[in-house]
Subunit: 594 residues, 2 copies
Amino acid sequence: MPQLRLALAQVDPTVGALEGNSDLVVRWARHAAERGAHLVAFPEMVLTGYPVEDLALRRSFVEASRSALEALATRLAAEGLGELAVVVGYLGRDDDAAHAEALGRPKGSPQNCVALLHGGTVVARQAKHHLPNYGVFDEFRHFVQGDRMAIVRVRGVDVALAICEDLWQEGGPVAATRSAGAGLLVVVNGSPYERNKDDVRLDLCRRRATQAGCTLAYVNMVGGQDELVFDGDSLVVSASGDVLGRAPQFAEGCLVVDLDLPAPVPGPAPLRVEADPHPYEVERVVVSAEPVPPYAAEPAGIASRILDEAEVYAALVTGVRDYVAKNGFRTVVLGLSGGIDSALCAAVACDAIGAANVHAVSMPSSYSSEHSRSDAADLAERTGLAFRVVPIAPMVAAFLDQVPLTGLAEENLQARVRGVVLMGLSNQEGHLVLATGNKSEVAVGYSTIYGDAVGGFAPLKDVPKTWVWRLARWRNGVAAERGERPPIPASSIDKPPSAELRPGQLDSDSLPDYAVLDELLDAYVEQDRGSAELVAAGFDRELVERVLRMVDAAEYKRRQYPPGPKVSERNFGRDRRLPITNGWREPVGASRTE
Amino acid sequence: MPQLRLALAQVDPTVGALEGNSDLVVRWARHAAERGAHLVAFPEMVLTGYPVEDLALRRSFVEASRSALEALATRLAAEGLGELAVVVGYLGRDDDAAHAEALGRPKGSPQNCVALLHGGTVVARQAKHHLPNYGVFDEFRHFVQGDRMAIVRVRGVDVALAICEDLWQEGGPVAATRSAGAGLLVVVNGSPYERNKDDVRLDLCRRRATQAGCTLAYVNMVGGQDELVFDGDSLVVSASGDVLGRAPQFAEGCLVVDLDLPAPVPGPAPLRVEADPHPYEVERVVVSAEPVPPYAAEPAGIASRILDEAEVYAALVTGVRDYVAKNGFRTVVLGLSGGIDSALCAAVACDAIGAANVHAVSMPSSYSSEHSRSDAADLAERTGLAFRVVPIAPMVAAFLDQVPLTGLAEENLQARVRGVVLMGLSNQEGHLVLATGNKSEVAVGYSTIYGDAVGGFAPLKDVPKTWVWRLARWRNGVAAERGERPPIPASSIDKPPSAELRPGQLDSDSLPDYAVLDELLDAYVEQDRGSAELVAAGFDRELVERVLRMVDAAEYKRRQYPPGPKVSERNFGRDRRLPITNGWREPVGASRTE
């Protein structure tokens, strides 16, 4: 059996940065070569970053991506890496007029492609077959599907290629890989993190490896791109489903695995193979027919999975770190209320970009409790972030002098004055503003638009309140284990939540207990259950009615809320897209039909 | 030749309001019956409103739509309208497990459907064949395509059905209509307004009528839904392309046209017909085989097209009126600076909901010119809107006392103080806030986030600055023609634009001449041209580089900008969807490759 040393480079590209991403590929290709790899694979569309959204529709960008691919092949060879087979994703185009037209698209339409580079040239190209157009994905909008397979013989092994969603479907490339008798299936991915997805992913890879009848290598990107966070978790499984190697989550790096792979069956290789739902044309390319001389294989690492809390926290840190850096910021500013949301936000920010780059402002009003001030100061002291106090009473008074506001209008005024202060500091000092709201608040609209909702990025936007506490406790526990001082004051975790916008105000005045609320929100927002189902599942009828109304009525606020990292199955924004103008009210109770 | 009196009801449904939309259908069906119609057609998905976005994915809503359809059929008969054939769009589901599975979707997946109701029952159903997934449309995300035709014999005429995008494709339902030998093709539409679309639409209808080989009836909705405005423009063309009737734009109403239509060819009608790209199964239903006894036909109205300026202005008025009403508001509030943007906004708002419901606030700062105050007051006096003055100097001073801000940070502070005042009045008095920015500003980011960008709706979001002037002059001209006082002070139109955030500031300090800017923005934003093309087209290289950077860098502001009515080929929001984190910079000049 031929041997092959395979490297999976789970790297962190930046959308649009063709030059920087090319550098990244060269750097990690060199690393792979230095570790003796024969084949290195990079993630889906690594050259352009992913997802590029409507950049895919701009012809100048498509052409720049195609040129960058050619230039990359040349450069790899020029830098002495021509012998390494390099698999990279890029943005290509469909030049087969008949194919494009059959799909109702013009010749030259963009495609989500993968290429194999070797010896200074692009030796094979293949376009994604299955285009996801659900959840956070809009690939029917952007791409034309491919319907041909490229199989490249590398060191005497037939290597088949597939792209992300191609793996999630049984038909198509997976089936064609088996029919074509390939010895290795390399799948390049841009698969966003969400809770519990790693388990699903491993099971899927095992099943597909068995169906493809060969070893399967899965390489995924890491890093943040607007609302999405990629968690890496690259892995290799054998045809019988054994895990041969697995990379850690959320860390840029290179997984190297020594493989024993079947030699191609002797005789002419088929150029057209059966596959469900239709046959595929196969382009066969031979890069090197001679197997590698026998060598001593090294054991590959199999990283163990981390706790759910560690995963989510790492996703938040990654999301913040990359949003800040990739958008040209170095520092952030946020309001510190003494409450748990801003405390967790600050801890995440400190872990993402270093406490010295995190600027926090305590903005007490006349309704602020003593503990809200002291807890904020305590957190600042524990973490070492830059801290200042700006009392808002004089500004609030100046407004009330000119415009008489009462009740909710006065409560919101306080939040908005704080927003103006944060934006002022952002403009004056160049910080990115972090909004500190959590998913439960964003869901029911328990936030002030242009007030606490102010920000360029919202780290906790997809984190329910009960998980905010869970993550805070977990983070403090990690610190304790490491012998460090826990960053979050215990009092911020333990006190009853309050917006402190009027005397003695508590969240529980207007909202149900968060444990109940989060369960209900999960069922309505993430599972899309209707009210009849919710009531049948045991939720209180009146509560269902009240909470659903709140969620529906807050859609306009969510449209103007900053982006934040997706960590759940369905986030607000890319995943859940509802109209603002919406007369639909889930019927609750027999007497209401609309 | 059988005669048929056809009514096209171009009505204004509300997304999600199944009960209200059912009432609307009954009301206009009765109107059609009273005018002697034999067949009345309503727009695409009239029962649910359109587009429903991810509501389509909620099972409870799909079931509610299907029940509402059955209830509507029963109710029409109960109210004495059972003899009228009623064509309505609704949200249905694909119960053909084999069909859904072949498309990789579960049984019961949602479909964009049309039904014909008669005699108290749903006599035929058909799902949309061509699902648009470009521009503002996401129908691959929401629906499963249909692949069968329903042909219903009504008063001795075979009536074929199609849904919106089905008309824009030559293959599919149009081709099947011809093969099936139908005498009338009824197309139900939810076709959003954009400039010049009416001309395209008429040409298309003519071409498709010829291709279908029969008279074609096109019914479109009117009204606003978030960013979209539907302009009606329902029409009927003969097989030879003659316009037999055409409804006015932007007005709810019913177009009635008397038609002479071919009787079906004698003999058995085919149940499977050839059509490009594949044959269609045809469900044939006979509602009434007997033609109508001969009657004296009446001439149909052919509304003439209105001016471009009138069209765009009507779209803005419609968008504002419906956003306000459908979201439960009765009044709006906006800042009045004395400049042209807020003046035009105020005029649109007055025309949309009446001057008595429009609250305007002049918020002079220490940098405000005398004319900015007097022009604002002048407009208030001309239109009769509710007007007040709130000087912002004390609030600005209170902030500067606590937080030293200079330069751009101080400029933005003034805009944000104004935003807080408007939001305070909104919360206190219950008004919807209108943001007054135009498309040119939104494009280059010449606005203050959480400042002048504050608002629930932004009437001019898709209107370039040069068009703001054009519309203002046109609106004043209309007033003059009618012998009314022009609403907009001439001085607001004629003075050089300025944000007045520092002494003597003019837009022209930081922006090129708006005529040049708008031309460049049109080429970059609407036509998606790359920088090389722009320079080749004659734009100054340095200007291209500067403006493209501004546009790219303002993406984060646009994500948090309120929705506004789409009137151009490509609006910000639904049409143009770019990443915030985006390292791509259009190459300008030979020395820059990224």
